[in-house]
Amino acid sequence: MSQRTETAERWVEDFRRVTNEDPEIQAHGKYFSCSFLLDMEQSRFLVKMHEGKVEEILTNPGPLDERYQFALRASAETWRKFGEEVPEPMYHGIWSASFQRDLRLEGDLLVLMQNLRCFTRQFELLRQIGVPV
């Protein structure tokens, strides 16, 4: 197993754990059911949420596996800055980074907006566990 694969697998488990244990998501996530892609340039993760819990995370899914509703795409450098404990200005959220940096929001953004509170919280959990790129 390569170091990169090992790092990705550990991150998948960490992301699952902090999401499922997060009091905020669990308090408000009854309807947080959707699927999204986190494209970190060097690796991609397809996250499937069901009622506030991580149902499955696919690492580097193939073309036929990619049935997600919306996607966040940015350079690995940007994702690394998202994952800092106190991110510098413009790397502190999906809107700041999409307005001012290279984050692109794609797909069915209505789904993102319908789940914005919980998704925003889950995104910020990256500050606890970092990113695998």
């Binding site: 200005p89 413009m90 959220g93 914005l116 925003t120």
Partner: protein, 284 residues
Amino acid sequence: MAQFSPVTGRYVTIDVLGDECKVFFLENGEGQPLVCQHTAGCHNHQWRDLLEDEEITRNYRVIAYDLARHGKSDPPKNREWWKEEYRLTADYYTAFIVAFCDALELEDPIFMGSSFGGNVALQLALRHPDRFKAVIPVEAAEYSPGFFLDWWQHPQANAAQVCASGVWDLMAPQSPEKDRWATWFYYSQGSEAFRGDLYFYSVDHDLRGKLDQIDGEKCPVIMLTGDYDYLTTPEDSQRTADQIKGGEFIEMKGIGHFPMSENYPLFKRYLQQALQRIENRTGG
């Protein structure tokens, strides 16, 4: 013994271009009037800590109102407002503020507002330099496009949560969590007015090419912007201040677009700098 706040609330009815507006305002303190405008889609409770700050209110009469349609201020009483799409204009907004200050018979008030309140502070400096002692535009620029969006009222999304979480990362991550959540809570309450306010913020407010008409010597313009503001960045505010005769800009480090409600102790330090500069330039 009950713990009463020194802040008091009252209503005043004013005429705004023919609209009968019953306006709710909070106030505390004595001395130089300091009139405070909340951000778009919000209300005067954003200024809660300033209103109760004994050090400031010793010398300043802090007055924070709710714009019509916000907080405890109703829409116009004499008009069928529900038959029109709400779109705030610069003409209406500035008329509202002047009418409010006139109704309270305020002499030489300092006007301070954040976000769309900061942008209207620039409008006041342009249109009414004789009516205000100075203005403090917070998180403001001569032009701030991009936020007059249908997202805020999309019927298939929860508008309260979209408005509140959509502006969440306008705040700095290191601001106190309880204050960020209080700010989020305020935004969950104002979704119906938010989009219409942003018509002013992102469309009707456009002072490009007009900043040289603002006389910052007559009415000092002291701008404050946080470095976590992705809508109006410090560079935007610096560029704006540079084009105003006598305009000044202070960058606020480690804070975002709602400084007075997301981290008041930090904002206070910069506000005191701005107030000191106004005192120095106007003789107190």
